[in-house]
Amino acid sequence: MDVASAKLIGAGLAAVGVGAASAGVGYVFGSFLQSAIRNPAASDGQQGRLYIGFAAAELLGLMAFAVAMLILFAF
């Protein structure tokens, strides 16, 4: 296998991490909605924490994307 095709396969494998992060983001919003529907009065005060959790989950997916881009364009 030459380097160019190995590069493409590696970038494709790195993109799998984005899917894992999507599960994480879905879990963050899903569990927020579950608890927000149980106690709607308290949900507005937790918006900030919701977005912090979302940002933390999203960052890891973006890292996978960054790795894919590094493999494709930096080497």
């Binding site: 977005y51 979302f54 999203e58 973006l62 881009m69 364009f73």
Partner: protein, 259 residues
């Protein structure tokens, strides 16, 4: 670019000189990045000074500007506490600059090909420097207020001693990674979105050039997808600015209050 058949999504992020050229003799070159930074700053300036009228009965514009300020002021007060007002200038600056830069990059100025917007927040130099300023504030405030007691930030308060030994290095590493992750987040979000838009925009043109029935179908699908991604991009632009502001105020709050 599109006609040659090879899609090059990185071309839109290249910093090119507008006047003069890069060289050893002239280190200060006016680039497209500098131009779009000035355009974004001019837009913010117009928006802010258009609304800072201090009228007793505010007009629509003044309500919009005051709403922006009240939004960030609330966020800072909730996460930092009564001292939060001191840190409002930086958090507000970061929020408004990121928001306007992200939104301006999504505006369809590209109809005139010379006015194609350059995404300044898709450069790590911008967002990285902004996160470095946040951490300069965190370290400065932390050591100014608490002295060497600032290091107790890394040690959980009511934990058994053996537990503390293991937690402290992890907390230290987590603290050291933060400036990196804070700047990386808005950068990659804008970068990824614009790569996606560029790739699918090329698909539209290439499928249209194929002159077949299937090509038309792919064109319509890709065009609808671009519209969807553009709307998501507007959402992401606002969310990333919000997340940067709220995380900055959270990190400053840790330095001010030590837990």
């Amino acid at each position: 670019m599109a006609a040659s058949g090879k899609i090059d999504p990185m071309h839109q992020f290249v910093i090119e000189p507008i006047f003069g050229s890069f060289g050893h003799n002239n280190p200060f070159v006016f680039t497209n990045s500098a131009l779009w930074t000035l355009i974004v700053l001019g837009t913010i300036w117009l928006f802010m000074f258009g609304g800072m009228k201090r009228e007793l009965i505010p007009g629509r514009w003044q309500v919009a500007v005051e709403g922006f300020i009240a939004f960030v002021d609330d966020m800072v007060n909730v996460s930092i506490g009564p001292e939060g007002r001191k840190y409002l200038p930086w958090v507000f600056t970061a929020f408004v600059f990121l928001l306007f830069a992200n939104l301006m990059a999504n505006m369809p100025f590209g109809i005139i090909s010379a006015a194609h917007p350059f995404t300044i927040t898709a450069q790590f130099t911008f967002t990285g420097v902004m996160s470095l300023i946040t951490f300069a504030i965190v370290l400065g405030v932390g050591f100014w207020k608490h002295g060497l007691h600032f290091f107790s930030l890394f040690v959980p308060k009511d934990a058994p001693f053996i537990f503390k030994i293991f937690i402290a290095p992890i907390e230290l590493i987590s603290f050291l990674v933060r400036p990196f992750s804070l700047g990386l987040r808005p950068f990659i979000a804008m970068f990824a979105g614009h790569v996606l838009l560029d790739v699918f925009g090329n698909f539209v043109v290439q499928a249209l050039n194929a002159h077949s029935a299937g090509g038309i179908g792919i064109t319509i699908l890709c065009f609808l997808f671009i519209m969807f991604v553009s709307m998501i991009e507007l959402l992401v632009a606002a969310i990333q600015a919000y997340v940067f502001a709220i995380l900055s105020s959270l990190y400053i709050s840790e330095a001010v209050n030590l837990h």
